[in-house]
Structures are given as C-alpha cells and as structure tokens.
C-alpha cells in the first residue's frame, strides 16, 4: 500500500479543485440552511407589520378571502357558524343549485355547496387541488348542524353534549422500545440517501477509472505503483468526497433546523430530528456499504475500455443495489421480519437493513457488532479482490471483460 497517501491526496484534490463539485456542495448547503430560516424571517417581518398596520389588517384580509357559493333552500344551520369553519372564505348565498354550479364553472367561486338535507349535500369544485379539504370541512360543519338539531329536538344543552362528546382524556405515552411512527420518515430518507450516494459516487469512481483507461493514463499509473494502492486511493478519496458533500449538506440542514425549530412545521421534525445514536449507526453502516460497493464499482470500471460500455458492465451491481433498496424500503414497516434479519447480516444489504432495524426494530448490541464486523471484513476482502481484478483487467483493451472471466483469470494466476 506504498503510495496510498499520495494517490489519495491527488484524487481528493481532483474533487476539491473541481468547481462543479464545490459549487454544487456549497450552493445546496446554503439553500438548505437558508430555507430553514425563511419562516423565522417571515414571522419577524409579519410581527413588525402587525404592530404597524393593525388598523387596516381586517380590511386587507377581507379582500384576500376566498369566494364560495352556497344554496341552502331549507335554511339549515347558521351562516355565522359556517364562517367559523371557513375563516378564509366568504359565502355568496344563491337562489338555486344551478346558480351555484355556474359560479363555480365561471370560476367566480372556488367551491359551492347545495344543501339537500341535514345529512346530504352536493359539493361543486372546478379543478380539485391535492390539498383541497373544503368538502371535509363542510362535512364537519354539517355534523355540527345535525348535533344542534338533535339537541334542539331532545331539549338538550348543546354545550353539555359537546363537553361529553369531546371529553378531555389525559394520556401519558411511554414508549419503551422504538417509536416507529416518529422514526419511519427519517429512516426512509436515510435509506434513500445511502442508495443515492452509492449509485452516484459508485458510477463516478467507475467512470473515473474507465476514463483513465480510455485516455491511457492508466498505462503510466500501473507501471508507477501498485494497482491495490491505486484502487484504494481512488475509492477512499471518492468516499471522503461523498461524505464531505452529503455531510456538509446534512449538517447545514440539521443545524439550521435545530436553530429554527420553533418556527418550522412540526412535520419537518419527522425528517430532521434524528437521534445521535441513529446517525452514528447510519454513518457506520452507510459508509461500510458505500465502501463495499465503491470497490466493486472500481473493479467494474477497469473491465471496460469505453465509458459507453460501463452501464452494461455495472448493470449487475446496480440491480443488486436496487433490490436491496426495495427490500429495505418495504422492510422498514416490519423491521424484525426474517427477511430483514437475514439482510441485516449480508454485506451486500446490511448497510441499509441493519440501520433500518436499529432505527425501527429491536436489535441486540451483539447483532450490530457482528453485522458491522462482517461488513467491514467484506469491505477489506472486496478491496483486495477489486485490486486484483483491477490489476488483471486494467491494461486489457477492446471488448468489455466479463466479471466471471476476470474472476477465472484471477484463479489461474493464483
């Protein structure tokens, strides 16, 4: 492994001196960090405006209200109460169902309701957006109308009735294991992240080697130093560059989230409020898995002489990565299944399966340690095997060499 340091430094410099790499990293990190500050900034600006312009606020809001239409021939319910349910809308009372429909068709009203009875209404909307919940809100309103009618008919006090229906129950939740609900989303995001990193950087490492073969600089390199040192230097530089890039973006996002937590929607916490131990497990297994596949990609890059042949040769590795990705994504729902347990020990899949089990299921420490040892031993094995394939294939030009043939040649040489 003589020269490893020189190769590693040279390859890493290639990444850090690449304008596209640095710009992309810094810009994405800045955007991620800035986005988290936006609600805080908007809030402070809005706060100032509130104190300055409180007098005209209601006037402005009046103009901003959405137009809705309603036809209520039997006069059910109460328009004031309805306004409480639709605080962002004003209602035009129509004289027929046709009028409601026309207003909606002409897009003069965003939605329209025709009340047929206290338990039936028609809802009209022109184009329904994904987040349109007008029908559900109106349904709630109608339920309240039914309750009001019931209380009135039975001589009951509505407030008392509602107090019983919505009686406050105090719950003290004590999760002794993992909170699957809370962990699911960041686990999901991290599985996708490691998949993306392996595919993106694996291909970069492989194409870098194929390029060196294609422009023949490999001729000089392999005659100047050992192929194992070359492969280790290239792969580890790629891994460090990837960890730096995604680490910086991740740190900017999570750090900025922590600073602005109080101003951001709670939903973001499901993605960004990641416990330290989960991040540590992710780092250990994610980097191990990435290294394993990076060495494989490096060897595959040496099997072809032209970039256009790389996809064909790397296809088998990509297929394995895709299968592992799908199995883990579905396995997150049932992290203690037999399939996930098996996958969490196999070096080709433990990088995401074991991580998912740690985040979502029950795993003993010895299982984590065993899986990590197996993974890192395989990484070293793959590095040595990759180095040998690299050595045997790197100066053989022409048609792509099949991985099976490359392995057969190794056997012969041994």
């Amino acid at each position: 492994m003589k020269n490893f340091k020189t190769i590693f430094k040279f390859e890493l410099d290639n990444y850090f001196k690449s304008k596209s790499y640095m710009l992309l990293t810094i810009i994405i990190a800045l955007i991620a960090a800035t986005l988290m500050f936006i609600p805080r900034i908007v809030d402070s600006v809005k706060g100032e405006d509130d104190t300055k312009d409180s007098g005209v606020e209601s006037e402005v809001n009046e103009e901003d209200l959405r137009n809705m239409a309603i036809y209520n021939p039997e006069g059910l319910g109460d328009m004031e109460m309805l306004a409480g349910y639709f605080s962002d809308a004003k209602f035009t009372e129509c004289t027929s169902a046709e009028e409601v429909k026309k207003l909606v068709e002409d897009e003069k009203a965003e939605g329209g309701f025709v009340i047929k009875s206290s338990t039936e209404f028609d809802f009209y909307v022109f184009n329904k957006s994904m987040d349109n919940d007008d029908m559900e809100v109106f349904t709630e309103y109608m339920r309240m109308v039914v309750k009001m009618e019931y209380c009135e008919a039975n001589n009951l006090n509505l407030e008392e009735y509602l107090a019983v229906e919505y009686a406050e129950i105090n719950v003290n939740e004590n999760i002794l294991g993992k909170d699957g609900m809370q962990n699911y989303w960041y686990c999901y995001i991290l599985v996708i992240l490691v998949f993306m990193v392996i595919i993106a950087y694996g291909t970069t490492i492989a194409s870098g080697i194929t390029n060196e073969k294609s422009n023949r600089s490999i001729e000089i390199l392999v005659t100047s130093t050992s192929t194992t040192a070359l492969l280790f230097g290239k792969v580890l530089a790629g891994v460090v560059a990837a960890v730096f890039q995604f680490g910086l973006i991740g740190a900017a996002s999570i750090g900025s989230y922590q600073i602005n937590k109080d101003y951001l929607p709670n939903m973001l916490g499901m993605f960004l409020d990641i416990p330290g131990e989960v991040l540590l497990t992710f780092a250990i297994f994610g980097i191990g898995g990435f290294l394993f596949y990076a060495f494989l990609y490096g060897a595959l890059g040496a099997l072809v002489s032209k970039i256009e042949d790389l996809n064909k040769t790397a296809g088998s590795a990509q297929m394995i990565i895709m299968i592992v990705y799908m199995v883990t994504l579905f396995g997150i729902m049932d992290p203690d299944s037999i399939l996930m347990k098996i996958c969490s020990y196999l070096p080709i899949s433990s990088y995401s399966a074991m991580f998912a089990r740690v985040a979502m299921g029950s795993v003993a420490m010895w299982e984590i340690v065993l899986s990590a040892v197996l993974l890192y031993a395989s990484v070293i094995g793959m590095g040595i095997l990759g180095g040998k394939i690299f050595r045997n294939s790197t100066l053989r030009y022409g048609n792509p060499i099949k991985l099976s043939n490359a392995l057969k040649n190794l056997k012969k040489e041994d």
């Binding site: 020269n3 040279f10 600089s217 490999i218 001729e219 000089i220 005659t223 130093t225 100066l395 053989r396």
Partner: protein, 329 residues
Amino acid sequence: MKLELKNIKKSFEEKEVLHGVSFSVESGRALGLLGRNGAGKTTTMRIIMDVFRANEGEVLLDGKKFKPDGSQVGYLPEERGLYPKKVVKEQMMYLAMLRGMTKKEAAKSTAKWLEKLQVSEYTDKKLETLSKGNQQKVQLAATLVGEPEIVILDEPFSGLDPVNSQILKDVITELISEGRIVIFSSHQMSYVEEFCEDIAIINHGDVVLSGNLDEIKEQYGKGRKILSANNYDLEGLKALCEDKLADKVKVLFVTKHYVVLDLNDGADQWQILDALKTLNVDVKTFGAYEPSLNDIFVSKVGEEVVVEEEETPEEATPKKKGLFGKGGK
C-alpha cells in the same frame, strides 16, 4: 546492471501469446525490441514491469529476481496517456512522488526534465492546451521524472518533427551514456540502428533473432554481394544472373539500388566478375552486402503468409498488415 528475461511464457485465457521469450540487456547499452504489431512486445514489456505476471520463466536483475518498485522503471507507452485536463507540473510531480520521490525532489526533477526537453514554458499549463509534439515531450519527461535505472520506450519518435526528434535523440543518447538500461521499441529501424547495440526480434510470441546488431549484420552479409550495372536495369540484371550465372550465384532479392546475390558453394567473387565481363556487363557496383536492420527484420518476420495476426487481448489494435508484411515493405 544486467536485466535478463529467461524463457518467459504468458497466456491470456486459453491462448499462449509468449512462448518462451529470452534476451538480456546491460547498463549503458540499448536493446531494440522489434516485432510486428501484436507480436508480443508490449506484453513482454509489461512483464518486465511486473504489470502482468508470467505463467512461466523469470525476469532477473544482476542474477536476482527482479521486482520493480516503481522507481526503477520508466515506461513510455506507445499509446500516450496523461491527464489532459491537469496542469503539467501537477501530474509530473504526482508521478515522481508515486515513484518514491519527496515533494521537494519531485519538484526539482520535474523542472529538470521539462527544461531538458525544452517544454518548461508549459509547466503551469493544462496538458490539453499543448501541441501534439509538446504533449509527447511532456510524456517523455513524465517517463524520466522518477530518474529510473531502466527506461522502456515504446515508439518514442512517433508524432515528433525533425527538431523535436533531435532533442529526443540527445536525451536518449544521454540516458545510455549515463549507464541506464534502455529498451527501445520502434518500427522506425533507422532509430533502432542509431541507438541500439543489441536487438531482439519477437514474432508470434517467440524470439526469432537476438544478439549484437553488428554481429547479426555481419552474419547476414556473409557470402552475399551487391551488384548493379550501367547497361542493365535491376530487373534485367536479375534476369541475367538467374539465366546465365545460376551455377555461381543465387539472386536473393532486389533493393532500390542493387541486386543482392548469394554466392554458391565453391564460387568466389573473381569468378563472378569474370563471368560478368564475358557477358559484357558494365559493372557499376560490386561489393560486400551490408544488410540494413530493415532487411534483417523483413527476412525474419515479413515474408510469412499472414493468416491472422496474433494479437494479445491487451493489444487489440485494428488489424492491418504490418509495415514489413508480405509485399508491404
């Protein structure tokens, strides 16, 4: 220092491409490693550099198994290759450091070789911005930047104009005079004749001829004469010799200026001259035949019927008849 290859055999998959290559080269001497495309030269070079492992045989340096550590061998590949988008100095220093130099030594050696090859003005330029000839010189500088004891040059003159060729000649002469081992492969025989004291011709994975070039030439010229006449063209002279002098000589071949004859047993030059006089041939030139390396090469590897060029998988260049192939001289 003496580098020896002993009975090197190498197979790729099921095909044996080297069938027992042996030759040797010493310090301060250059060896011309010759052969047609796909003959096995590059595979032999890569085995010397330990990039490929021989299936049989051994490479020895001063009688001990040779295991190059990167600093000992400088290789100029036929297919040139450096990083086109990197600055010249950066990649030269990188290669020097890979061959065991410290950063300081690498910088010093980089400056020295770029200056020697007269490309120091391009030190801080990206390689792709240089002309082909200058890229070639940078490539040679990169070969020598590690101050190797053994220098392997594969077609070093291809792509160079006469001025740059002279610069390169001076550098190679200096390398030889400094006592380094130089292995030189080229299809331009004049360069091989100029630098190499020894040659090894490889054909289809076998060394078909090796040894001291002067001795080989002497051996090839022995008993052979050249003949030209003022009153016959070369074809006419050839026909006359074949018709009237068949008992004394055999016509070997015709060059641009002479008919080359091989004296039959018992015949001597005076008998030939007498016979020519009798036949009224106005002799312009008659003397000892000194074969060129080109003639020797053609006679060893160029006159076979080429069924299929034997290419090693790593030398899968487009198939074409060799420069010295049948009828292609």
